[in-house]
């Protein structure tokens, strides 16, 4: 299992603009880091660089002694604004696919749906879901197929108070079991976190 992730001297540009450089950040088992910073500071880009979807100008991400490619294919989940859910398929079809694709089983998908209060929605087409329901559906694969590192982009934004609490509990459980969370947020997460300010100094 993955126990540390090290982001080393990372520099990222979008187009001509340098978002940040020399960013170094270590993440250890059981730890959550909240990435803060103004809009456009590069929080999402940092998450995408960790996921290997975006090539940094300099620096690298080290997943212990694992090959980066293996680590990304087996130990990492990313949930962002673009949730990859197909609007004309049913919630269950999408949850089932996303779960199986990331290594879970139909049974774990069913359990995740129960945890995130999705059971009554599973027969609906994804287009019928509200923004909050849709986000819960996207978050369900975190629970349905356990992977160590969660990369979350504004995970709580569309959730109501009750479901923020539910998801807070899920994050806490994940950390207790040795997981890691790297989340871009504007509001603080309901779990103990270190804060890394992107486009500024790192504190905590």
């Amino acid at each position: 299992m993955l126990r540390t992730v090290l982001i080393q001297d990372l520099a990222i540009s979008r187009g001509e603009r340098r978002l940040f450089s020399d960013l170094t950040l270590a993440l250890r088992a059981g730890e959550a880091v909240a990435l803060t910073g103004r809009n456009g500071a590069g929080k999402t880009s940092l998450l995408r660089a960790v996921a290997g979807l975006l090539r940094p100008d300099a620096g690298r991400v080290i997943f212990e002694d694992l090959e980066a490619e293996t680590a990304r294919a087996e130990h990492l989940h990313m949930v962002g604004h673009h949730d990859g859910l197909k609007s004309n398929r049913s919630a269950w079809e999408e949850l089932r696919f996303q779960t199986l694709w990331s290594g879970g089983s139909p049974a774990t998908a069913r359990q995740a749906a129960e945890r995130l209060d999705l059971v009554r929605l599973l027969d609906l087409e994804v287009r019928r879901l509200s923004a909050g329901q849709r986000r819960r559906l996207a978050l369900a694969r975190l629970v349905a197929s356990p992977r160590t590192l969660w990369l979350l982009d504004e995970p709580m934004a569309p959730l109501d108070a009750a479901h923020r609490q539910t998801f807070g509990a899920l994050m806490a459980e994940h950390l207790v079991s040795g997981g890691m969370i790297l989340a871009a947020v504007h509001d603080p997460l309901p779990i103990p976190t270190r804060t890394a300010r992107i486009g500024g100094e790192i504190s905590g």
Partner: protein, 221 residues
């Protein structure tokens, strides 16, 4: 392998759901068979002469229809991120997508082609070759089309770009396939044309996934 099958199942459902499948193939050929005599004249011997060629050409053009959305959809809604972070390589993802595209639209079209050719008065002896050409030609069209679709990712007016990229690549299989059909029709040696087309198909299936995966990585960056 398990992941590949899971993905193939999803891609098939998506391709079938957005208007692929046997009914589309039949409707498409119904259009060709109805409209061609009106456009090209009703003389049976004239129609019979062009029937194999038309059935074959219609196949190639139909393969272009739904290409644009092959990768674009997943790129826009973030599913391509998920597919990249999965257990199968992007190359395998590309193969699954093209294969599903072929199963949902190319193969039904190939199987419907004889009906159109016969309705236009083609000699029944060409039917086996027409189906064979249709199936393997369709496979080449699907993979080359996927190549065009992946290269056009993220560009506006992607559909136009796909057509421009793909058309020159469609030329060789169209020529080889039509050549084989024509040779059989006029009693000449038809195997060389077929073998060339099969070779082209094999090259397309083997090489284009590499290019598709690279194009997708590039588009995500």
């Amino acid at each position: 392998m398990k992941a590949f099958l899971i993905l193939l199942q999803r891609e098939l459902a998506l391709a079938w759901g957005k208007g692929g499948g046997p009914l589309l193939a039949l409707a498409f050929y119904a259009g060709v068979v109805t409209l061609l005599p009106m456009a090209a004249g009703r003389a049976p011997e004239k129609l019979a002469a062009v029937a194999p060629g038309i059935a074959w050409l219609a196949l190639a053009l139909a393969a272009l229809l739904s290409l644009e959305r092959l990768f674009e959809r997943d790129f826009e809604d973030g599913a391509l991120d998920l597919l990249t972070l999965g257990p199968a390589s992007l190359e395998a993802v590309a193969v699954a997508k093209c294969l599903a595209q072929w199963l949902a639209s190319g193969a039904p079209l190939a199987l419907a082609a004889p009906i159109a050719a016969l309705a236009l008065g083609a000699d029944p002896k060409i039917i086996p070759l027409l189906v064979l050409c249709g199936l393997f030609g369709g496979l080449a069209f699907a993979f080359l089309g996927g190549l065009g679709a992946s290269l056009a990712l993220g560009s506006r007016r992607g559909g136009l770009l796909v057509a421009v990229i793909v058309l020159p690549l469609y030329v060789p299989p169209v020529i080889f396939g039509a050549g084989a059909l024509d040779a059989l029709n006029s009693g000449l040696a038809w195997t060389p044309g077929l073998y060339l087309m099969l070779a082209y198909c094999a090259a397309a299936v083997a090489l284009s996934p590499l290019a598709m995966a690279a194009a997708c990585r590039n588009a995500l960056d």
